[in-house]
Symmetry: C2
Subunit: 329 residues, 2 copies
């Protein structure tokens, strides 16, 4: 078994609703070993963190890294994080409000810990190691069950005072729309999300019952998944086209607002939907000029994540590695 000679290792952890990805990285942030485990947040935050640490110890052991050589741990969590420490509110976990995740993880591991919102770590990962390299201001847009942006401005994460930085999914676009999980009504996220995409597609399939997508799913709507919609879009199915066009128009509206406020060098699509980034970028560009200042679009780069899952691990590890670039003073 190979003995690693580098003495400084860091752990990057990306806690998701279903799975948690754990990586041990070297001092250049190369991932030496990574593993995915079930998150099982219902067991409580203490138990979840303990299981994650136990797995990390086993991983280190596998590759003959001494626990003493693990310098620090970065955590990514889907929720509002204050001061890279406190989970003000976790998106889907029954952990209560204002959990001091940094303190808890430091108690369990006896290592220094920093915590950020998952998408902010992904943004940091892309900024340092991925499609965001060389830029000063970037947006990483992650679309999944919700939509949010990880924002790097002047080379730093924009976390916001109470962890709400980048929560552009909660721009209200329809005051008479659907109630959003956040408590507001008609948020962008009720349209721009996997749930929104599926809801609109199912609605049109039921109402219109025409074309290829209806033929395949009219009698088993519950089997419809997001990738189907993109597949039928590419087959010129009218319903799929309408759904994708509306989705991208709404997304362009949100991105237009971000451009007028943040004015980044580049926008990088991450998360599951980045597999369809080519379609999304084309359509967003079609609508964007209606919503964004012309000057904010000049030289703007659109990119699709190549790091994929490793962005969250690398960004989390970088949080604790590179205090100069990531600490919000």
């Amino acid at each position: 078994m190979k003995q690693h000679n580098i003495l400084n290792y860091y752990v990057g952890i990306d806690i998701g609703g279903t799975n948690t990805k754990i990586g041990i990285v070297d001092d250049k942030c190369n991932i030496i070993i990574e593993k995915s485990i079930k998150t099982l947040p219902e067991l409580g935050v203490q138990k979840t963190f303990s299981r994650i640490w136990k797995t990390t110890q086993e991983m280190a052991d596998t590759i003959n890294i001494s626990e003493d050589n693990i310098i620090g741990i970065g955590l990514g969590i889907p929720g509002l994080i204050i001061n890279q420490s406190i989970i003000k509110r976790a998106a889907n976990f029954p952990w209560g409000d204002n959990v001091n995740a940094k303190h808890l993880m430091e108690e369990i591991t006896k290592k220094p810990v920093k915590v950020e919102k998952d998408v902010n770590n992904i943004a940091l990962g892309e900024y340092l190691f991925g499609e965001g390299r060389g830029f000063k201001n970037i947006l990483v847009i992650s679309i999944g069950t919700g939509v949010s942006a990880g924002i790097i401005i002047n080379h730093q994460i924009l976390s916001g005072t109470t962890g709400c930085g980048g929560e552009f999914g909660h721009i209200v676009i329809n005051p008479n729309g659907l109630k959003c999980g956040c408590g507001l009504t008609g948020c962008l996220e009720t349209y721009v999300s996997t749930a929104g995409l599926l809801r609109e597609a199912k609605k049109l399939i039921t109402e219109k019952n025409s074309g290829l997508i209806s033929k395949q799913f009219q009698n088993n709507l519950q089997q419809l998944e997001v990738h189907h919609i993109f597949e039928f879009y590419k087959k010129d199915d009218a319903i799929a086209i309408t759904v994708i066009e509306n989705f991208c128009r709404h997304l362009a509206y949100g991105i237009g607002i971000l451009l007028n406020i943040i004015n980044p060098d580049a926008i990088i699509f991450a998360g599951g939907i980045s597999k369809s980034a080519d379609v999304i970028i084309e359509k967003v560009n079609k609508y964007l000029h209606n919503y964004a200042l012309q000057a904010s679009m000049e030289n703007l780069q659109f990119r699709s994540s190549k790091l994929l899952d490793s962005a969250g691990i690398k960004g989390a590890a970088a949080l604790i590695m590179n205090t100069d670039k990531t600490e919000n003073l």
Copy 2:
């Protein structure tokens, strides 16, 4: 005549559409002398800058400060500024695009010069010397002929890659609305601006012709000014109330979006409208919970500028004084 013994002085200049304010400050950013001159931008940028510098030299002379002791100059300009140097586009000046204002002013003055958007300098002034002291993330909202925000995040100005940082006045809120000066249609600024306020008030006075404000202005609408609307609001005039309510509802919409993206510690109202900040803050708070994430409003401070005009002078001077805090790397 008093001889000043401090050897380091800086110049802060706030160039406005009509008037330009010039201040000479000491190394604590105390304004030693200030003067306002007509901007006369129609004479061209070269002549405007030369006149400003000549006035500055005369001011220095008046108080026996040697030109050699002026260390640097900060400029604030209403327009999109790139890299604290280039006026990508000036709001109202016939100077053409992409004027290298830094280079030009350095040639004229033989001093180091930095340039920022006017509202960004005001934000820096408030952050360092005014209502923003002690905070890490602030928004300074200036409402006048337009509306925009000077944003400080992680103690730094958010200028944006092409100078569009903070341009939330160009969020499209009504795709069927009025054409905006920026080229987009239905921007927030077409409602939230002095022009928007006056337009809506004149419209209601003409349509309804009732109440105190109609009585006074129905036959001389062109005499109506913004302060009148606030005065009649305080006299419970129904038209003034409707106009102010709508204005503040639109403003709350824009602020809600800023909160969901920037999530600052404090919002400071600056510019002419800050005289009516008490009314605006009360009404914005009334509507804000419809548009902002609850977490983003917790502990949020609303303030009204006390520095007023001097914020722009002090912020401009601080740009060049305090490279650590203001330079965007």
